[in-house]
């Protein structure tokens, strides 16, 4: 049961990552690999602050701001310095590796003794469920810490999704969406598309760094390697989410992305339980995203056998 709860909680935490990837990859069609650096950046910044005894909530804000700064740099490199999208992301990601080591001072910071979001969640859990250490949910034994953390992550993700959806409906939010949809049109309506892209990538990487910070606090350590493969992970969640809701309505897609992240994490937990070698995890994830990207196009051209073979781009 704690395996199930753990998967659920991590799935929720990583759905913030998925929302960030949704913002860059789907709204802007910008494959932003900065994500891999900003996950760790967020974790590093919040871990260092927690070690110093700073309030967990403040550490989360700082993580968001750090990620947003990284995203803004990628945006500036791409729009102002005209660097290719992927290369801009790679440059910032690579630079962040050193930055993260400097912030942390070493490659791994344990957070077991620090007051973090988990300890806050534990005390909130204790207040809600009483002082007993274990709960009984549907016949399963659940620790107060796990239950509190799950509820708290649910609240955080729900709030983030709500704010994001509201933002997408404001004047500036619609301008950001239009920038991804048709930059020529929105420029002709007086919007500085460079600025919108920088702002959008900042929000995207802010969310991703927030996911990194929460993940570090949940698992009890920040590690300089923890960002590797995170972008593909987020992408997988977005793709599963789109398949789940089968619509491109903003509200549904955002909800779907969160569900996709949780579902993907659950599937991974089950696969690991059944004996999947953890070393193969990233390979499987990459293969999954590959199949999801290419599958529909291949299936279509296979069905139209002998017909027009000019298949579109996969993405």
């Amino acid at each position: 049961m704690s395996l199930f709860l753990g998967a659920l909680t991590i799935g929720l935490i990583l759905s913030l990552l998925a929302l960030g990837v949704y913002m860059s990859f789907r709204v802007f069609k910008f494959p932003d690999i900065t994500a891999e650096g900003s996950v760790t950046f967020g974790a590093a910044v919040s871990a260092v602050l927690l070690i110093k005894g700073i309030d967990p909530g403040v550490s989360l804000f700082a993580a968001f701001a750090a990620g947003a700064a990284a995203g803004a740099v990628t945006g500036i490199l791409h729009t102002k310095c005209k660097i290719n999208e992927l290369l801009a992301g790679i440059l910032v990601m690579t630079a962040l590796y050193s930055v993260n080591l400097h912030v942390m001072g070493k490659s791994n910071i344990p957070l077991v003794d620090a007051k973090s979001t988990s300890t806050v969640a534990e005390s909130i859990g204790a207040r809600i469920f009483g002082q007993s250490t274990d709960l009984n949910w549907f016949g399963w034994d659940v620790s107060i810490r796990d239950a509190g953390m799950l509820l708290m992550m649910f609240a955080v993700v729900a709030a983030a999704a709500f704010i994001l959806l509201v933002f997408f409906r404001t004047n500036i939010g619609t301008a950001i969406r239009a920038t991804g949809d048709n930059p020529q049109m929105i420029r002709a309506l007086g919007v500085d598309v460079d600025l919108m892209m920088i702002l959008g990538l900042a929000i995207s990487n802010g969310l991703i760094a927030l996911a990194g910070a929460l993940l570090a606090q949940y698992q009890g350590f920040a590690d300089v390697q923890m960002g590797i493969g995170m972008m593909v992970w987020g992408l997988a969640s977005v793709i599963i989410g789109e398949a789940l809701v089968g619509s491109n309505k903003q509200g549904l897609v955002v909800t779907g992305t969160i569900m996709g992240s949780v579902l993907f994490r659950l599937l991974v937990a089950i696969a690991l339980r059944w004996g999947l070698n953890p070393n193969d995890l990233k390979l499987i994830t990459a293969l999954f995203v590959f199949a999801a990207l290419v599958g529909p196009t291949m299936a279509r051209s296979f069905l139209k056998k002998g017909g027009n073979q000019t298949s579109g781009r996969a993405v």
């Binding site: 500036i172 939010g173 048709n182 049109m185 002709a188 919007v191 500085d192």
Partner: protein, 270 residues
Amino acid sequence: MLEITNINKTFHAGTVNEVFALQDVSLSLAQGDFLIIIGTNGSGKSTLLNAVAGSFIADSGKISLSGHDITKWPEHKRASLIGRVFQNPFSGTAPTMTIAENLSLAAKRGKPRGFGWALDKQLQNELRDRIRTLNMGLEDRLDNAIGSLSGGQRQALTLLMASWLKPDLLLLDEHTAALDPKSADQVIRLTKDIVERDRLTTLMVTHSMQQAVHLGNRIIMMHKGQVLHDFKGASRQGIRSEDLLHRFEEVRRREQVDVRVAELLQRMYV
């Protein structure tokens, strides 16, 4: 109103592909003028429009609009004064966003955008009324994605969007060229209505001699980046499409003369 003074633009300067797209073009428009620009392919019609819109900065010369020197303004800043409809119906709207959202973007053209609702109640009512005037039945489909509409419908909406906040200058870049004849007629009628109703100063590029003689109060004909003919006032009155076609024929003959003279000189001196 609009004052274009000696603007020049050369693309790929210094290479074999060098194109003198605009050569010392000067043009002056008064408030309410409706100028039609015609010309052969590659004559610089669209380039002139793009120079005014700010798609690129001219190499030299000066452009001023409504008392502002906009020569160095970036495109998005000029948009506060200029409404624009593109040739491609896909260019003027955001396909995955709804009709209402697209119009809400246009309702803020050139204005600061903050955290207010893009679609407040007042705007929703207003845009329903304005879309009804198109007579396309789109007022009941405000929440549909614009990508699901036909080219003609999209172009009509783009025109509505460009003129939503009466722009100081309206730019129409062959905006019916990609449409079927029936939709093109519809969009042209709409163009006429809007421009006349709001007395908008307008620059319109077209390939259609029909449109050229039936719309506007002035016609210029461009060739090789220069203004070749300027029909205004008395010379614009009573002009027929045959007259314009005749001018095109002259241009074609002159080109042929160029080639033949070159051959002749080659034979004699090279």
